[in-house]
Symmetry: none
Subunit: 409 residues, 2 copies
């Protein structure tokens, strides 16, 4: 099944926002074994949208369309789809009820424009939007499918994972697509490609291996179509596992924070963190996991050195002698936050995220990470890049990873 993603929105064509929606959808659909053949953005104009649909249908079986479905005048997708599929708008009582429920739960007042969201094209399947007012519209015509959904990232993500992928899997896919994921770290993408050269050369032609690098981690996806390939898949997995050696962190597609959560739950451990340069991002990532409160107690972000002293009891002398970005400070941070929050494990980081604050001895990107577990301590120095965002994300990944490794995965 070939898919094209079509985004409707002038804001992307003028470069006001970056189209992260399409990247998210592409990654998610690829992970599920679907093939994306094109990604297109066009403006909020009827003839441009219609043209994009014509082109889309000529190269793809399914068009996933986001944007232009809000209640305001610049939102013309619904009207355009009616013309395109030669149908008309009808009122859908169920959609209105869903909107009423949503608005009531948020104490929003209802108004006429919002009620208009319940007008939907006659000849399509209407799927309720669980978290917003614009329903998903699913058109099928001559073996082709078009699904229109909101462009609000949170609504789009809910629609893709909660409704669209499950329906596509039911309609088009069985256990026909085999894939396995390997999480790798401690090696660059090109070095990994050299390490896997022999494996890839010998890999049967119907198999594919994709590299998905992200902030110090690389996810490998080994895949093949057809369940008759299961024995060969298992054999290839074994070879890949052997080739990856110690660089292999986990055979999983889960985010790092979920992997950590699994270990915490399984071993009934508790966790606290003390952050400096990551500014709360480690806590944020850990608490993205539903149910994290079972094992996670909290963090102290000591962005200011005075806070390191007042809240984490780091000795002034230690900061003066070694500097805030040092093995000594980060080890005290890990030890003290663990004592204060009474946890079994802790993560502490201190570094220079940039763009300012670097020195010749400690340039931007210098980071110390200390992890404690079972009364043992691991402390490591890292040298990351010059970008603030990159340093925050790499430090977060490496810190969580360091604790996962300490706990024996």
């Amino acid at each position: 099944m070939k898919i094209e993603i079509i985004t409707v929105g002038d804001e992307i064509l003028i470069g006001q926002i970056i189209d992260t929606n399409s990247a998210w959808m592409a990654a998610e659909l690829t992970r599920q074994g679907f093939e994306i053949v094109a990604i297109t953005t066009v403006g909020d104009r009827e003839e441009d949208i219609a043209k994009a649909l014509d082109t889309g249908f000529s190269r793809a079986d399914l068009l996933l369309m986001t944007g232009g479905v809000g209640p305001t005048r610049d939102d013309i997708t619904k009207k355009t789809l009616c013309s395109y599929f030669h149908t008309e708008l009808i009122f859908d009582e169920q959609v209105l009820q869903q909107i009423n429920r949503l608005f009531a739960s948020k104490n929003y007042p209802m108004n006429e424009l919002t009620k208009n969201q319940a007008f939907v094209p006659k000849d399509c399947t209407v799927i309720q939007n669980r978290v917003g007012t614009a329903p998903l519209l699913w058109f099928e015509q001559k073996g082709h499918i078009l699904v229109s959904m909101p462009g609000v990232p949170f609504e789009m993500k809910t629609a893709i994972t909660g409704d669209i992928i499950p329906r596509l899997e039911k309609q088009f896919q069985s256990a026909d697509y085999l894939k396995s994921s390997f999480l790798v770290s401690g090696i660059t993408e090109s070095s990994l490609a050299i390490l896997l050269d022999d494996f890839e050369t010998k890999l049967p032609g119907n198999f594919s291996l994709a590299y998905l690098p992200s902030y110090g981690l690389i996810r490998l996806r080994l895949s093949v179509r057809g369940k008759e390939n299961l024995p060969e898949m298992e054999s290839q997995e074994k070879k890949l596992r052997e080739a990856l050696r110690d660089f292999l962190v986990a055979e999983s597609d889960e985010p790092l924070e979920s992997l950590l959560g699994n270990v915490m739950r399984k071993e009934r451990l508790t966790l606290s963190t003390a952050e400096s340069c990551t500014g709360g991002n480690i806590a944020h990532r850990i608490t993205l996991v539903p149910g994290a409160s079972e094992y996670y107690k909290g963090t102290v972000v000591s962005y200011d050195n005075a806070v390191k002293t007042s809240l984490l009891n780091i000795e002034n002398e230690t900061i003066k002698v070694y500097g805030a970005v040092s093995r000594e400070v980060v080890e005290q941070m890990a030890q003290n936050v663990s004592e204060k929050m009474e946890t079994d494990c802790s993560i502490a980081v201190s570094g220079i995220a940039g763009p300012e604050g670097g020195t010749p001895e400690k340039p931007v990107g210098t980071v110390w990470i200390c992890t404690q577990a079972h009364r043992k301590t691991v402390t490591q120095k890292y040298q990351f890049g010059s970008s603030r965002e990159e340093n925050i994300n790499r430090t977060t990944n490496m810190a969580i990873l360091q604790l996962i490794k300490m706990l024996g995965k």
Copy 2:
């Protein structure tokens, strides 16, 4: 002059990388007054590229194409363009000299693969790449133009600003693009549309108003092409400002955390935070701003109630009587973190992010936010949705916004 941006690259179609190149090009070209009508990504396959070119030429006068021009086997753009324009590759001595100069300056060894970069299509204008090995290829045919350039961001940017825009400006006349942004909150998108109904009805036809909602905020973009419209633009801005009344937060395109940073710096204030349900996301957002350490001291994330007591000195009795998600607790959190970190301002939040933890009186999405500044306190209760991610992001936005409003913007 209508422009389409075409990116060639499987890595975008599988969601491995976000297409930031197109956003950068779109912003840069829009600023120069050019109109982007579509942005398309297709994979590294000849027929897919040819199809994208056909579609592109049917809706645009100029195609700007990036990617697929490297020296390795998977880079097929040059070959595809030769077929498409019915021409052949010839050796270009000047391109080789440029590559030699470049490699000599970096002490890179030359190899055969790189020398092949000097083979270029016969029937096109070759423009030297100032910073890389693949030259820019400029095709003109029947009034249409196609320019192929490298996808490496630094090379693409150098080509666009140094060669392509100057040539386009010389050859065509561009109309300037005027835009202004308004950040709005406290109103749903549909209510805002009703509020602005009269304004939109009277808005001249060449102007456009776009709504961009995100987690409790709506960004409005008012725009028009042609600098002769500047007086009318100013007049419309004034009308919009009046229509928006108190819902207008700022006339800016900046993220909320940058707006807060601007106020903090200007008023020379310091800030601390105490978080519960946001799990460090407020601190994370605040510290995304370069230089945040000037005013931001830190956060305590008390995910566990015991941490509220031990690190933030919240009285056990208060938690017992009112619950952790209450006006009383969140006000103590704001007060105590401010005292402990010795800051002028503070933000404290406590709520139920979900999916678990809700009760009939305090369902998932119940959030209390307290902000303190200049010895004054504002405390508000919010009722957000049922999604954990949405609740974390809405709480973060509303908390930062509440403080910005307290400080009189």
